[in-house]
C-alpha cells in the first residue's frame, strides 16, 4: 500500500512531529499518514533517534535532580503500575487507528454536517491552535474554490481528488499555503473522504460559502 502513496509529508513536519512541537490537529494528520506510509514512518523514527541523541549530547543542559529523587521514584514504582488499556495494533476499517480514536469508530460513526452541494464535514475536537475536520465530497463534485490564510494539509482517506496540479489518492497529503487558490474535484469513481487540518480559517471565494463560513466554523 505504501508504494502507492505519492505525496508525502515534508522532513520539517516529520521532525516537528518527532519533537512533539506541532499542534494537536497536525499531529493527528501526521499520525494518520504514518499509519499508512512506511517510508515516512522510517524517516520519522530517525528524527526520534535524533531527539534521543540531542538528549544524550546534553543539548538541553542537565538539571540536577533534588536529593532523594531516586528513592522517591522507586517508591512511586513500588506503588504499582497504572494499567493502561492496550491499543489494537491495526484497526479494521477505512480510518487509520488515530482517526478512529477521534471519531469514536469508523466511517459509519462520523457525525456529518451538510455544507451544501452534497459536501459534508465533521469537525474533530482538538486543541485550538489548529483545527481538524473530515470532509465528504460526492464523486465528481468540486469543493468551493478557496484560498488560505495559513497552512492547510489534506490527506485522502477514501476515493481521490484532483486539483489544478495533481492527483491525490488514499494516503496522499496535499499541502497548501497562502499562495495556492485551488478547486479540488473528487474522482468520479467514488465519494471522496479526506482529513483536512489548518492553522487558520479557510477563506472561500464564492459568495455563499463566505456568508456561511461563520456558521460552519471553517
Amino acid at each position: 500500500m505504501s508504494n502507492e502513496i505519492k505525496h508525502h509529508l515534508t522532513p520539517g513536519i516529520l521532525m516537528a512531529y518527532a519533537a512533539g512541537t506541532l499542534p494537536e490537529a497536525f499531529n493527528l494528520l501526521v499520525a494518520s499518514h504514518l499509519s499508512l506510509c512506511d517510508d515516512c514512518r522510517a524517516e520519522f523514527e530517525s528524527y526520534e533517534a535524533l531527539g534521543g541523541e540531542l538528549l544524550e549530547t546534553q543539548a538541553f543542559d542537565q538539571a540536577a535532580m533534588s536529593g532523594g529523587s531516586l528513592e522517591a521514584t522507586l517508591a512511586l514504582i513500588a506503588g504499582g503500575p497504572v494499567e493502561e488499556p492496550a491499543r489494537p495494533l491495526r484497526a479494521k476499517g477505512v480510518l487509520p487507528t488515530p482517526l478512529q480514536d477521534y471519531v469514536g469508530g469508523d466511517l459509519s460513526d462520523i457525525k456529518w454536517k451538510p455544507v451544501g452541494m452534497g459536501v459534508k464535514q465533521a469537525i474533530l475536537k482538538t486543541s485550538s491552535e489548529a483545527s481538524a475536520r473530515l470532509l465528504f465530497i460526492p464523486a465528481g463534485a468540486a469543493m468551493p474554490d478557496h484560498g488560505h490564510k495559513g497552512v492547510e494539509m489534506t490527506m485522502v482517506l477514501q476515493g481521490a481528488f484532483q486539483d489544478e496540479d495533481d492527483y491525490f489518492a488514499r494516503g496522499d497529503v496535499e499541502i497548501a499555503d497562502v499562495d495556492l487558490h485551488h478547486t479540488p474535484v473528487a474522482d468520479i469513481h467514488e465519494d471522496c473522504i479526506c482529513l483536512a487540518v489548518t492553522d487558520a480559517p479557510l477563506k472561500f471565494r464564492g459568495l455563499i460559502p463566505k456568508i456561511a463560513q461563520p456558521f460552519l466554523r471553517i
Binding site: 520539517g12 512541537t21 499542534p23 534521543g52 499541502i175 499555503d177
Partner: protein, 221 residues
C-alpha cells in the same frame, strides 16, 4: 525495517551494509586520530550497557541497574523539560514520572529498533505534551514499541551502532547549526514555523534548519 541512517535520504549507505570495518575506518579520519576511535567504542559500550540495564529491569526488577539509568537520564530529562517551559519543581516531578514509565514499560523497549536514549526521549516527549500542553498525542497505529519475539543480537548491535554514528554526526556539527536543530526540539511551533516546515512558500525551502539537516545527512554518510 529501515535503519536510522535512512534519516536522511535513500542515498545514504547504511552501516548495515557497510559493516563495522567501515565504521572504524571512518572513525580513523585524519582529523580525529586514534583517540576518536576509543571514544567511539566507549560510547558504543555505554549504549550496550544501557540496553543491558533495560533487560535487567525487565527480567529481574534490578534496582541497581535502574539507579544507573536514573543518574544518567533523569537530569537530562529534567533539563529538557525546563527548556520546554516547565518550572524546576514540575520538571523534577515529570522527570520522576518518566523514569517510572521507563521501569513499568521496560518490556516494550526493543533494542533492535531504538537506542535507550531514543526510547527515553519519546517517553519524555509524550509526558511533556501531556503535562505542559494538556493534550492528547495521536500516535500511528501498530505501536512502534509493541512486544515482539526476542530480537536478534546482530540487529541490536547494528541499531546501536547506527545510533552512535548519528550521535557522532550531531556532536560534530558546527555549533550554530547544532543549535538550530536543538531549537527545533523544544517549545511549540508558531504559524510561520509550521509554514516553513511544510517547505512553503517555495522561497524559504532553503531555510537555515534545512542547511543544518543537509549537513547532518552528509556527515552520516
Amino acid at each position: 525495517m529501515i535503519g536510522i541512517l535512512d534519516i536522511v535520504d535513500a542515498g545514504v549507505v547504511s552501516l548495515q551494509r557497510e559493516g563495522r570495518a567501515a565504521l572504524a575506518h571512518r572513525a580513523k579520519g585524519p582529523k580525529n586520530g586514534s583517540s576518536q576511535v576509543s571514544n567511539n567504542s566507549s560510547n558504543q559500550n555505554t549504549r550496550l550497557l544501557w540496553v543491558h540495564h533495560m533487560n535487567r529491569i525487565r527480567d529481574a526488577q534490578d534496582k541497581a541497574a535502574f539507579g544507573e539509568l536514573f543518574a544518567h537520564f533523569a537530569p537530562r530529562i529534567k533539563g529538557f523539560l525546563i527548556k520546554s517551559g516547565a518550572d524546576a519543581s514540575l520538571a523534577e516531578e515529570c522527570a520522576q514520572d518518566v523514569m517510572v514509565t521507563v521501569w513499568n514499560k521496560a518490556h516494550l523497549f526493543d533494542a533492535s529498533r531504538a537506542s535507550v536514549s531514543t526510547w527515553i526521549f519519546t517517553v519524555a516527549r509524550n509526558r511533556r505534551i501531556d503535562i505542559l500542553r494538556r493534550e492528547n498525542r495521536p500516535e500511528p497505529e501498530d505501536l512502534p514499541w509493541g512486544p515482539e519475539a526476542e530480537p536478534e543480537q546482530s540487529d541490536i548491535l547494528v541499531m546501536q551502532e547506527e545510533t552512535e554514528s548519528l550521535g557522532r554526526a550531531v556532536r560534530e556539527l558546527p555549533d550554530n547549526q547544532r543549535e538550530l536543530i536543538e531549537k527545533a526540539y523544544f517549545g511549540d511551533m508558531s504559524h510561520s514555523e509550521i509554514a516553513e516546515a511544510t517547505g512553503l512558500p517555495l522561497g524559504t525551502i532553503k531555510s537555515r534548519l534545512r542547511l543544518a539537516l543537509d549537513r547532518l545527512r552528509h556527515a552520516v554518510k
